[in-house]
């Protein structure tokens, strides 16, 4: 790059080499799904990494392996609801049709409606008159419509409710698209501690005037505070809050108790957390953070689901070689197939690269790409070995023996410009794929170096979105199979 950059161009510390996937335990999903002791699976991770799709795919797979499953999604794309044959998910679990398998498994799916969930709690815990007063309170209405932590809190409430109903033997939970991926762990506590914290007590104090002697001191603090907040927010706002708090009074203990109970449920052995990520720097950074946080909270981590990983069946052909070969075809240059050629094939490729404008534009940072390409390097060695008397020997042997003999005859059809253009395209496409592979591996190796203990399963990238159960089933299949990295 010619522009001035304010810092180093390649990012951060690089883990030591050799931390490849071979050293990383494979996250075997099926035993987790099959274990009747697994009652809750929580999918968490950064936004846009495929959490909800992963949760739905796990639900389908578990159901087809005989579990009675409910998937609690938070904010599914319409397409995803439709892929489970449900036009619109709502706050009630709906049975998903089309689940295969003979073990009596079932899948139900629902989408969290936080306002509905909050309303139900109020209705369940207050007499009708009081419930109505709460439901009509403006502060309650804003709070329940979804602010700062309500969604996270209600997700945990719903999880607790589903678990208590005991109608399902496995609950798969998606987590809210939060400001930070950790909000769903923190928000219930925060709301809980607000609801029975000092501040609420102060707000409620006027209703309890004449109580204990200590209240007098508190009242001084309160009038100062309500004065300030009243000025800030408008007196009527504070009035709404006070009415709300007074009406909710008897329910506060319950909120706190349930929040604590759900939190303990998440720490229990029947729970398995799956951290979901894509092989991108930010998503994996959040994943690493999440792994650390779960450990600190004593929450059981099953492993990392790495979505949208690219692979190549032609990985032994390195990006550099593919590009060099494409250039050969562009220039209509047919390389001599003499046996001595193979040994130095890499050399002209790399030296010709910087001078080629197209290549330079596509890959401005050559050095980092090649450093970060352990697979490419490995496969390069592999492919040069191949040219020896190895597995692919017959092919190359044949080529190198026929080419010099038949020379003009056999290259005649090969130099067909259309075919050359096409083959060059195939090679460029492959070079680009290999570059993506190298970057993904590099990114993943960083995570692995930090957390070598975390089991990983990789899910190959799909060209399109999921539209039906078959699509979810295919993802489930990919989730539970070690990826062939050949």
């Amino acid at each position: 790059m010619t522009e001035k950059t304010p810092g180093p161009a390649d990012g951060g510390p690089v883990p030591p080499a050799g931390a490849g996937l071979d050293a990383v335990p494979f996250l075997d999903i099926d035993p987790v799904l099959d274990d009747r002791g697994t009652r809750i699976i929580v999918c968490c991770g950064a936004g846009g990494v495929g959490k909800t799709t992963t949760a739905a795919a796990l639900g389908v797979r578990a159901a087809e392996r005989g579990r009675r499953v409910v998937v609690l999604t938070i904010d599914p794309a319409r397409r995803l609801a439709q892929s489970m044959g449900i036009d619109a998910l709502d706050n009630t679990p709906r049975r998903v049709d089309g689940i295969k398998g003979s073990d009596g498994g079932e899948l139900h799916a629902m989408m969290l409606d936080m306002k509905r969930t909050f309303d139900e709690i109020v209705e369940a815990h207050a007499d009708p008159a009081r419930a109505r007063a709460i439901l009509e309170n403006p502060f309650y209405q804003s709070l329940s419509a979804g602010f700062a932590g309500t969604q996270e809190y209600m997700a945990m409430e719903k999880l607790g409710q589903l678990r208590a109903r005991d109608e399902w033997d496995l609950i798969v939970v998606d987590t809210p698209p939060s400001r930070s991926a950790l909000d769903f762990l923190d928000a219930p506590k925060r709301l809980g501690s607000f609801l029975d914290g000092k501040f609420i007590k102060l707000l409620m104090a006027p209703a309890k005037v004449g109580g204990r002697a200590g209240m007098k001191f508190l009242n001084v603090g309160m009038s100062m505070m309500t004065g300030t907040l009243g000025k800030l927010l408008g007196g009527q706002f504070l009035g709404d809050v006070q009415t709300f708090v007074a009406a909710m009074d008897t329910m506060f203990g319950g909120f706190r108790t349930r929040a604590d109970a759900t939190y303990r449920l998440l720490q229990a052995p029947g729970t398995a957390f799956l951290v979901v990520a894509a092989p991108e720097r930010d998503a994996l950074r959040e994943a690493a953070y999440f792994v650390e946080r779960l450990a600190a909270e004593g929450m059981p981590l099953a492993g990392l689901v790495l979505n949208r990983v690219h692979g190549s069946g032609a990985a032994r052909l390195s990006a550099e070689r593919a590009r060099a070969a494409a250039e050969n075809l562009d220039e209509g240059r047919i390389v001599d197939q003499g046996p001595g050629k193979t040994g130095q094939r890499g050399a002209p490729a790399t030296s010709s690269e910087p001078s080629h404008p197209a290549t330079a534009a596509v890959s401005p940072a050559r050095p980092s790409a090649s450093e970060a390409a352990p697979t490419a390097d490995a496969s390069e060695e592999h492919s040069s070995r191949d040219t020896g008397p190895d597995s692919t020997g017959p092919d190359t042997g044949q080529d190198s023996t026929t080419d010099p003999d038949t020379g003009p005859d056999s290259t005649g059809p090969d130099t067909d410009p259309e075919l050359a253009r096409l083959t060059a395209g195939l090679l460029r496409l492959h070079a680009e794929r290999m570059r993506v592979l190298a970057r993904e591996q590099h990114t993943r190796d960083r995570f692995t170096a930090l957390h070598p203990e975390v089991a990983v399963t990789e899910v190959a990238a799909l060209p399109g979105d999921v539209h039906d159960l078959a699509g979810l089933r295919a993802i489930g299949e990919r989730l539970s199979t070690p990826r062939d990295r050949s």
Partner: protein, 321 residues
């Protein structure tokens, strides 16, 4: 170009990167932009590979051509304490409020207050002027919450008006809405050429329009080059396998015969993706908004990539007078 550029988008579409590139692109010669983040994730600091940003505006980059980019991570709690200090000279009382949980209440639980404080700070930066009357920042670029929450986030007036009908928060909300709904503001939505983000973009645009918020552009991010078209892929399959193998071998590829099948698989995948992308482009065209297009960065979004994206944006008209 609008003074306040709000960048939203579905999670994973690269909105922080686009916001940063936009701030760089707008900082043409002699100009100064402020890049703000509101979600406390320190995404800007990570992108620019610097220490975590404090709650203060600091210079983070020099743009190509000499403009300056400043950055600020807005913290709602600090913003509220500053605000109380500014208007009520609270001093120690602010700390007392914090201890009682009142600040936490106001910034995390009281509906809408947090959003008023965050957008309010950005609008204040837009309006701030030097002594000579020139704006301190030519443009303010906000790395905003994702598409699913952007309308509620920006539409603070509606949210707060029902609750705080009088008082400074109410006035603050009014002033903020004045800026946000004016042509001084443009809300951009970042998307990929994939079904879910495109659908979310279409929904987001409809929501923003319904709320009377000024929609700017769609930013199509991570656009990958089309190497082969469908016709080429069709041509490649079938009878041509042997000829391709010979051509590969002729171009110096070892073990060509075994590579043809996987290379054609990759080509078929590519063709399917190209087709899907074309469908998604059609959906985006249906929204009827101008778009910026940014290329996929093969080596990830590092600083070099950021400058490349900024250059692309300038080529497409960002920062032009």
């Amino acid at each position: 170009m609008s003074r306040l550029q709000v960048v939203s988008g579905k999670g994973g579409t690269g909105k922080t990167t686009v916001a940063a590139a936009l701030a760089l692109a707008l900082a043409t010669e002699g100009k100064r932009t402020l890049l703000v983040e509101v979600e406390g994730r320190q995404g800007i600091a990570q992108l620019f590979e610097t220490e975590a940003l404090p709650y203060e505006e600091r210079k983070i980059a020099v743009a190509p051509g000499g403009g300056e980019v400043y950055a600020l991570a807005i913290d709602a709690e600090r913003a509220l304490l500053d605000y109380l200090q500014m208007f009520y000279k609270l001093g120690g009382a602010g700390r007392a409020l914090k201890k009682l949980g009142a600040i936490d209440f106001a910034t995390t639980i009281a509906p809408g207050v947090r959003d008023v404080l965050l957008t309010g700070k950005a609008c204040e930066a837009v309006r701030r002027r030097e002594r000579d009357g020139r704006p301190v920042y030519d443009h303010v670029v906000m790395d905003a919450p994702p598409t699913g929450r952007i309308t509620r986030f920006l539409n603070v007036n509606d949210e707060v008006a029902g609750l705080a009908r009088i008082g400074p928060i109410h006035h603050q909300a009014q002033a903020v809405m004045g800026v946000l709904k004016s042509p001084d503001t443009a809300v951009h939505l970042v998307t990929l050429l994939e079904e879910m983000p495109v659908q979310e973009t279409a929904d987001g645009v409809a929501e923003l329009r319904a709320a009377g918020l000024p929609v700017g552009r769609v930013v199509v991010n991570m656009v990958r080059p089309q190497v082969l078209d469908e016709a080429a892929v069709r041509a490649a399959s079938g009878d041509h396998r042997e000829a391709i193998a010979r051509t590969l071998a002729g171009a110096g590829v070892a073990g060509a015969a075994g590579l043809v099948e996987p290379l054609l698989d990759q080509a078929a995948e590519h063709a399917r993706r190209v087709e899907l992308e074309r469908d998604q482009r059609a959906v985006l065209d249906g929204i009827g908004l101008p778009a910026y297009e940014l290329p996929y960065l093969g080596d990830g979004a590092d600083i070099a990539g950021l400058y490349r994206l900024a250059k692309e944006l300038r080529k497409q008209g960002v920062g032009a007078a």
